[in-house]
């Protein structure tokens, strides 16, 4: 029971990241019909929003380190700590949550620029051309980030108050040994809130309903005098924000590097395809499902029977689902079937 609970939590926490990425990806496909291979890059850029804010907050004064005697060494003291000895360290400690405020406008802007500047020219082109151009864009952006931030991962910690573990077992009246990191629980809750907000936006606002109508029949909505193209552009920006937020909050879990978007890209496409291209509930369902499966496949009991299964489980399940149901779990008939 203990192992089951821990692996379920771990799967949900992984699934949260997969679902957030896949949600944006499928949103773009469902509205614009674009297969966006640069979506992982948006996740990476979101992570670097947190890194950038952390660096801004820790702009430092160099002070000679007198404890080093055999060469001149300097230690860095952030100006924030010099100017505000009490408040400064607290602000620096909260860099990642504060970065959310920065990520939303930055990613919205980046999404709009990307859509207007490049993506819109490929709406009516073949999917293969869309894949080529967006993948090329991803590579260019990766190299730009690498040239600014270097190739190495940049550790950026969660707020110290959230660095410990939550006694999940004790809460549920189970073993005290079952604990789970606070930040991962927060990430899971955060993913739930963002996914919920996107669904509310699409289902319960006039704007969202028009977008959904446009997804179903773009031509008719256009004939009603609605500029559906502009709304879809905003949707692209929204997808960029969702991916960016997923990246920002992921920073304390795995230190980001310029390559992290590509690491997630293939996985998120598998999630989208399994969920059903263009299906938002499908992306979320598949994200959590594959996260949980991956977590359970990593259990020693499973690996003793099927060695290496943890590395391939997602792809095996994807193959099985697509064989049985080519449109994916919740995909519409005829879409990428």
């Amino acid at each position: 029971m203990d192992a089951f609970l821990i692996q379920t939590l771990n799967g949900l926490d992984k699934g949260g990241a997969y679902a957030l990425l896949a949600l944006g990806l499928t949103l773009v496909f469902g509205t614009l019909g674009v297969v966006n291979f640069a979506h992982g890059t948006l996740f990476m850029l979101g992570a670097f929003c947190a890194v950038t804010l952390s660096r801004i907050l820790t702009i430092s004064k160099q002070v000679k380190d007198e404890s080093i005697t055999f060469f001149d060494a300097y230690k860095e003291i952030p100006y924030l700590e010099i100017w505000f000895p009490d408040l400064g360290p607290v602000i620096i400690d909260m860099a990642v949550p504060l970065a959310i405020v920065m990520t939303i406008p930055v990613m919205l802007l980046l999404g709009l620029v990307m859509e207007r500047g490049l993506i819109r020219h490929f709406y009516k082109r073949e999917h293969s051309e869309q894949i080529l151009v967006t993948f090329g864009l991803a590579l260019v952006v990766m190299q730009i980030v690498k040239s600014f931030y270097g190739a190495n991962p940049i550790p950026t910690a969660a707020p110290s108050a959230l660095a410990g573990t939550a006694a999940v077992g004790a809460w549920l009246g189970l073993s005290d040994a079952i604990v789970y990191p606070w930040w991962r629980i927060i990430y899971l809750l955060f993913a739930g809130v963002v996914i919920g907000a996107v669904f509310v936006f699409l289902n319960y606002t006039t704007y969202g309903m028009v977008v959904r109508a446009g997804m179903a029949d773009r031509e008719t909505v256009g004939l009603l005098g609605i500029n559906i193209g502009r709304r879809f552009t905003i949707v692209f920006g929204l997808a960029a924000v969702v991916a960016g937020l997923a990246g920002t909050m992921y920073v304390p879990i795995v230190p980001p590097d310029y390559h992290m978007g590509l690491d997630f890209l293939v996985l998120s496409f598998v999630v989208v395809v399994v969920g059903g291209m263009g299906s938002l509930p499908g992306a979320v369902l598949a994200g959590f499902l594959l996260g949980i499966l991956q977590s359970f496949a990593s259990m020693n009991e499973v690996k003793q029977v099927l060695p290496g299964i943890d590395q391939v489980i997602i792809y095996l399940v994807a193959v099985a689902i697509l064989l049985a149901r080519p449109r994916g779990l919740l995909g519409r008939k005829g879409v990428m079937e």
Partner: protein, 448 residues
């Protein structure tokens, strides 16, 4: 009238001619030591310069180590060319180097990115050998990368001085005549770590291994589990993790209820930083299992990793090849030069790369040639000191340096920003030496 009719008979002429031809054939080899025909690969000939190739991971899981290796190589080239304060040129004993390059030729260098991948490393090394005409190449983190490059070195007849590689295979089953390793290995780590683990953690423990899934990880897992089982510990489980996993949570969660009270992280570089950080995030260090405090052991440590993992390393045991805080003249000379150049002390990766390039250059001077078989012979069985490792031997049989190594612990009370590892024990060469045929292998021929 013929010459044969008179003073010299035909037989005499033939005999004399044969003798002269034979003498002419063998004479140059008898007295022209080192004057080898210019038919070895990348012979610098009359060029005023000679080129070294530094092939390090500039991207991938070991990019931090690669960056520091490159710093060390730049420094050693400066010192070899007589620039700067000379660093270990002043402490190496015996030393044939004069600070005027190598054999009077100024040292130049080219760099490459191994990407921490064996195929990329081989491609980069091949480019260095074929296009840049390097006389020697060096570098690399990751044992699979080192083994791949060593094989290429043997195929192409160009000496490879291994950078950071710790697997037993490198100088065991995969040893090569053209490959040399200054770094200690997993077996030596086990020999060094065993007594400290026994003293600090006792003899009744259950260990759970998380192991990087390639030859280095397997090697360390094998050596450390043999050591700990020898102490009386039980190995609860050994789980392989893909290199560069990033998120290790799915491998750490099963540890929580495995009944193990020690987690051995057979990871290095970014993998170790991530797995250790996440293990601490999952509360392992706060746990009590089997009535004991849960402990984490990191068999191969470096200051760069300690820096990346921050507070999480405090109190955690491991081994390292070298640490900047050592006080012997060689270490101090190197740290002073490196610190003056870059503003921070070198890592163990930087140290081993610096020493290896220095030892290669010294071997060329002692051999009086760049001809690889002679340079190899100059390195084989070479005893040296003054490199921060105590009296050391480049063992002829497997090209492994026999030297002291360090048991360290994450420093709980650092005195400065770099004081992250506390040296618990300097284990002397006599205790880390093992039979060369313990991990059998074939070096291969001198001439290729």
């Amino acid at each position: 009238m013929s010459i044969f009719d008179q003073k010299y008979g035909r037989r005499t002429v033939l005999k004399t001619g044969s003798a002269l031809a034979g003498a002419a054939a063998i004479a140059p080899m008898g007295f022209v030591k080192g004057a080898y025909a210019a038919d070895f690969r990348n012979d610098p000939g009359n060029s005023p310069t000679v080129t070294f190739g530094f092939n390090v991971p500039q991207t991938g899981a070991y990019a931090d180590e690669g960056a520091d290796e490159l710093r060390a190589y730049r420094l050693v080239v400066k010192h070899l060319n007589g620039e700067g304060d000379g660093g270990m040129l002043n402490t190496l004993k015996p030393a044939a180097l004069k600070g005027n390059g190598v054999l009077g030729k100024k040292v130049e260098y080219v760099t490459g990115d191994t990407q921490t991948k064996a195929d990329a490393a081989r491609a980069s090394a091949r480019r260095m050998i074929e296009s840049d005409r390097v006389i020697m190449f060096s570098g690399g983190s990751s044992s699979s990368v080192a083994v791949a490059q060593q094989s290429l070195a043997q195929e192409m007849g160009v000496v490879f001085m291994c950078g950071l590689t710790h697997a037993n295979d490198t100088t065991g089953k995969d040893r090569r005549r053209y490959g040399f390793r200054h770094m200690f290995n997993a077996h030596m780590s086990g020999l060094a770590l065993g007594p400290v683990l026994k003293q600090e953690l006792g003899t009744d423990r259950r260990a759970y291994h998380l192991t990087a899934d390639y030859n280095w990880g397997w090697s360390v897992e094998d050596s450390i589990s043999k050591t700990t089982e020898g102490l009386g510990w039980e190995t609860a489980n050994a789980v392989r993790t893909p290199l560069g996993s990033g998120d290790f949570s799915q491998y750490i969660t099963p540890v929580l209820n495995s009944g193990a009270d020690v987690l051995v992280l057979n990871h290095y570089g970014r993998d170790m930083v991530n797995s250790l950080t996440q293990a601490v995030q999952f509360g392992l260090r706060d746990k009590q299992v089997n009535g004991k405090d849960f402990q984490i052991v990191v068999p191969l440590y470096s200051r760069l990793m300690a820096q990346g993992a921050g507070e999480n390393v405090k109190g955690i045991y491991g081994t390292t090849n070298w640490n900047w805080s050592l006080t012997d003249p060689g270490s101090q000379a190197f740290v002073k030069s490196f610190g003056a150049e870059y503003g921070f002390p070198p890592s163990q990766a930087a140290h081993t790369c610096y020493v290896n390039a220095l030892l290669y250059a010294d071997a060329c001077e002692r051999a009086g040639t760049f001809y690889p078989p002679e340079v190899i012979k100059a390195l084989e069985g070479h005893e040296f000191d003054g490199t921060g490792d105590g009296p050391s031997l480049y063992r002829a049989e497997d090209h492994q340096v026999m030297k002291s190594c360090l048991v360290v612990r994450g420093n709980a009370n650092p005195t400065n920003q770099f004081d992250l590892l506390e040296v618990v024990n300097i284990v002397p060469r006599s205790e880390t030496t093992y039979p060369h045929d313990l991990y059998p292998g074939e070096l291969g021929p001198y001439e290729v």
